[in-house]
């Protein structure tokens, strides 16, 4: 039972696809309408952007990265998740900071951990790792980086 607000929002964008994932509304938004969709969502009543995060699919999907933004409407008590895909060669996406100032730190974290740049972000620098760190830790081709421990011959840390 999708809320009419979500339905109306999705209808305004032809390229956006809506799915229900375990009872939650998820909208797959192509990256060229990312900011537009977020603006429309904000106007419709999604006042809070709860989080922005990313997933690295490495080789299992044609586009390597997915960026996920979770929006929340306190007025209507609704949540919606926007997901977009970014290709391996050009991981750039519009920043949501102009709409939701609270995405400043989460987008910096995504940049730090995945190397995805956000166009229009006021201060896109490393936030969790030291400034001179090389590499983006949460990418799948970045190893865990553990030290060899006795009796842990298995490649998994656990």
């Amino acid at each position: 039972m999708t809320h009419r607000i979500v339905e109306a929002l999705v209808e305004r964008f032809e390229t956006a696809e809506h799915e229900v994932s375990h009872g939650q509304d998820v909208v797959h938004v192509p990256r060229d309408v990312w900011l537009e969709f977020a603006t429309a969502a904000r106007e419709t009543g999604f006042e809070v952007c709860v989080d922005v995060t990313a997933v690295d699919w490495l080789r299992s999907r044609p586009d390597r990265y997915q960026v996920v933004a979770c929006l929340l409407s306190m007025e209507h008590e609704l949540r919606i998740r926007m997901i977009t895909t970014l290709p391996r060669e050009e991981p750039v996406l519009d920043s949501l900071v102009s709409l939701y100032p609270g995405t400043n730190y989460p987008e910096r974290e995504v940049y730090d951990m995945f190397g995805i740049t956000f166009a229009g972000h006021p201060d896109l620098t490393r936030i969790l790792m030291p400034d001179d760190w090389e590499g983006h830790p949460l990418r799948k081709d970045f190893g865990v980086g553990g030290v060899p421990v006795q009796f842990k011959e298995s490649h998994q840390v656990s």
Binding site: P130, G146, V149
Partner: protein
């Protein structure tokens, strides 16, 4: 028996008095990082009461502290800060590595943590636990006191 340098052949009362003074009013520096810091604060609080050992005054300034209890996980970004604070402490100084993460990296064997704080500073006592309860930390502190009193740790 370990060889003792000539100066210690006669245990002077001054030596003993110095050791007694050092152990009875050891001021810890605040270096609480993560969960172990909360247990360290609990050890200093009313129930477990570090004050009976003269140690409830956690000095914020490392210049006024004797003991650095590294309580918590030390990340790559924090390691230079840890070293700098340790260097700023005047002699004689001791280090207790509190908890599994400080002693060996704990359950986080990954890129982000220094796998054991003894890669950065010399450690005198390792207190295991995740987090070590106040009893364990106190046992570690009292062991340090005993070792200093007996002369086993002589810096």
């Amino acid at each position: 028996m370990a060889a003792t340098p000539p100066g210690n052949l006669m245990m002077t009362t001054v030596d003993r008095a110095a050791r007694w003074a050092r152990t009875r009013s050891m001021f810890p520096a605040t270096f609480g990082l993560a969960c172990c810091a909360i247990e360290m604060m609990a050890t200093g609080a009313a129930h477990w009461d570090l004050a009976r050992f003269g140690m409830e005054v956690f000095r914020a300034s490392p210049r006024q502290a004797d003991l650095m209890i590294v309580a918590g996980r030390v990340s790559q970004k924090m390691a230079p800060v840890l070293r700098q604070v340790f260097d700023q402490m005047p002699d004689p100084k001791w280090v207790i590595s509190m908890g599994a993460c400080a002693s060996s990296g704990g359950m986080f064997n990954n890129y982000a943590l220094v796998q054991g704080v003894d890669q950065v500073v010399p450690v005198d006592i390792y207190v295991p636990g995740c987090p070590p309860g106040p009893q364990s930390l106190m046992h570690g502190i009292l062991t340090l006191h005993d070792k200093i009193m007996s002369g086993e740790i002589d810096h």
